[in-house]
Amino acid sequence: MDIFVQQLINGLVLGSIYALVALGYTMVYGILELINFAHGEVTMVGAMVALAVMVPLLGTGLPVVLVLLIAILAAIAACMLLGYTIERVAYRPLRRAPRLAPLITAIGVSIVLQNAAMLIWGRGYISFPPIIHRETHQFMGAVITDLQMAIVALSVLIMIGLVYLVERTRLGRAMRATAQSREVAELMGVNVNTVISATFIIGSALAAIAGVMVSAYYGLAHYYMGFMLGLKAFSAAVLGGIGNIAGAMLGGLLLGVIEALGAGYIGDLTGGFLGSNYQDVFAFMVLILVLVLRPSGLLGERVAQRA
């Protein structure tokens, strides 16, 4: 039983990181119907910038909490700038092009970012400085650390904040209007370009936080880390219903739990026929099943094809 609880905790922590990244996919898709494949790389850049800021600052003797805060803020700022630039340079000129063009551009941007990161930060794995003390707590026979609780709590807070932003603020209303119909929103006096830029900036800020969380949780960062994370988060967004904010959160958490339980139990359930090397397969099996059985996702609504 405690093993089941432990796997559930493992899955929830992993899932809340997926959810944060999935939000970036889903927000952009909701407004532009564009799958921003460079989003995973933005997460990676967030982790890299945070580490690049953190390591020299730790030598100066500043309090650890302050250093961590500065590093996260630097990562958020860098990713916001990056997200804005990507949209401005790579997607805006193609806004009226066929939908395939920006999709291919997105893949291109992702490759450019990976290689740029490789040139700047090198091919090696960069270790996260051991500044977070890891107290373990017993919880229903399972073990949970402060960092894990912080990751889940912070993710939930951010998600609540995002829902508030989208549902209750002026910007949020403009975003929803743009998502429904760009032309009509424009006629109503909404500055569509600003709204789209804001969407990319907010999504990238979430990615930056997720990037720092991932590198703190696993203790390392690597120029390639955004690729798989991006694909998983994309699957999570599709699972929840892409374009739907609550769906991205639900999809992320579900995917994390499915992966943890799947990898943990598949060996025992199949008598060793299938092993835990299939861990990564679960996310993509879920993606395929959703696309086949319920293309609109768990919370997505079947929308009529827009003209």
Binding site: Q6, L14, R123, G124, G219, L220, A263, G267, S276, D280
Partner: protein, 386 residues
């Protein structure tokens, strides 16, 4: 037309120039025959420091042999080392291997990595050139049945056997869980460990898998935890082993963490941080201060090239194995002295040098290290196959 003709003649001249440099047995000014021996290692890129170290080790052996004077078939000969750079890249490795063959080398010392040694070994074999690798450890290298492939370092199978044995008999582990990263190296090593654990009377309670790109091991570690092993073995490299060590501590697991040479390095200590403490990992070969001729070799080597990085003593021994076989055959003809290579029986800097039927070193040493306060400390050296 005129241009075409000019181009053609230029090409002819160039080609003639190239050809005269190839495949010819050169002689020195004093009339000694020159025998070329190839040395291949990554001389550029991330591993260049280790590659240059191998190259220097080989060079020292060549220079010492020349200083002593070598007579083959009644005539004095001079050895010449031809260094090539494979950049640790399998494709480059086959290109430089062909180049060495074309240049008429009589033997090759190298390559440094398993991934480059294996594809290159086919080219040497097809051309009948004996190859002695100082540092490639993948079992596949000598499992191809090539009579030209030799190595002077313990291979992964020998290492796995030592590790599995050590886990049960020395560390007292009865229940062992094994994880591997599904690469040729990780899986091969883990399979050997599993066999050795069972042979020594231990039980393998769980076998889990990950990939060489994964960072999350909490799910597999949790299911391992449920089986309550005394020891967890990981066949893989440091980028996975580092976070794995951290996640074990995070899950409150107290089983001994054991690994192979893929994680017995500084990067693992960096990635695992404080959680590296107590981890045991092996490395083929033995530390310099434990080598029978280590102290003396170190003096001679460092007087010329500076500090030893890693495998230089093995490259040095590899050259001496070749020279000894040439002396015994009294010929530098690969077809002749290759018959004497398997009969090698000599004392090298790194220990006794004898080959088994496959060309692997017989009774190669494997050394176990334990991580403590951000450094690896030597536990003990075990001879494989004993």
């Amino acid at each position: 037309m005129r241009l075409g003709y000019l181009g053609l003649s230029a090409a002819t001249i160039l080609l003639t120039g190239l050809l005269t440099g190839c495949g010819q047995d050169k002689t020195t000014a004093s009339g000694e025959e020159v025998i070329r021996i190839g040395s291949v290692a990554p001389l550029t890129g991330a591993q260049s420091h280790i590659g240059k170290d191998n190259d220097n080790g080989a060079r020292l052996a060549i220079d010492e042999a020349n200083a002593k004077g070598l007579v083959l078939g009644g005539k004095p000969v001079k050895l010449e080392l031809v260094s090539e750079d494979d950049a640790a890249d399998p494709k480059t490795a086959t290109t430089v291997a062909q180049k060495l063959v074309d240049e008429g080398v009589k033997a090759v010392i190298g390559h440094l990595n398993s991934g480059t040694t294996i594809p290159a070994s086919k080219i040497y074999h097809d051309n009948g050139i004996p190859q002695v690798s100082p540092s490639a450890t993948a079992t596949a290298y000598t499992a191809q049945g090539y009579n030209t492939a030799f190595r002077v370092m313990a291979n992964d199978a020998q290492q796995g056997k030592v590790l599995g044995d050590y886990a049960v008999t020395k560390l007292g582990a009865r229940k062992v869980a094994i994880i591997d990263d599904r690469t040729a190296y990780g899986q091969g090593l883990a399979d050997e460990v599993e066999k050795a654990v069972k042979a020594s009377g231990g039980t393998v309670v769980d076998r889990e898998y990950t990939s060489d790109k994964a960072t999350d091991f909490t799910a597999i570690l949790t299911s391992i935890k449920a089986k309550e092993p005394d020891l967890i073995f990981f066949g893989g490299m440091d980028p996975q082993a580092g976070p794995m060590a951290q996640q074990m501590k995070r899950l409150d697991m107290h089983a001994q963490f054991l690994g192979g040479d893929g994680m017995q390095n500084l990067n693992f200590l960096k990635l695992a941080g404080a959680d590296a403490d107590g981890v045991i990992a092996s490395s083929p070969g033995l530390p310099l201060d434990s080598m029978p001729g280590g102290e003396d070799f170190k003096k001679r080597f460092e007087a010329r090239y500076g500090p030893i990085q890693l495998y230089a003593p093995y490259a040095y021994d590899a050259v001496n194995v070749v020279i000894a076989a040439m002396k015994k055959a009294d010929s530098a003809d690969p077809a002749k002295f290759i018959l004497d290579l398997p009969k090698t029986d000599m004392q090298g800097v790194t220990g006794p040098l004898r080959f088994d039927a496959k060309g692997d070193i017989a009774g190669g040493s494997v050394t176990l290290y334990q991580a403590k306060d951000g450094a690896w400390t030597k536990l003990e050296t075990v001879k494989s196959g004993q």
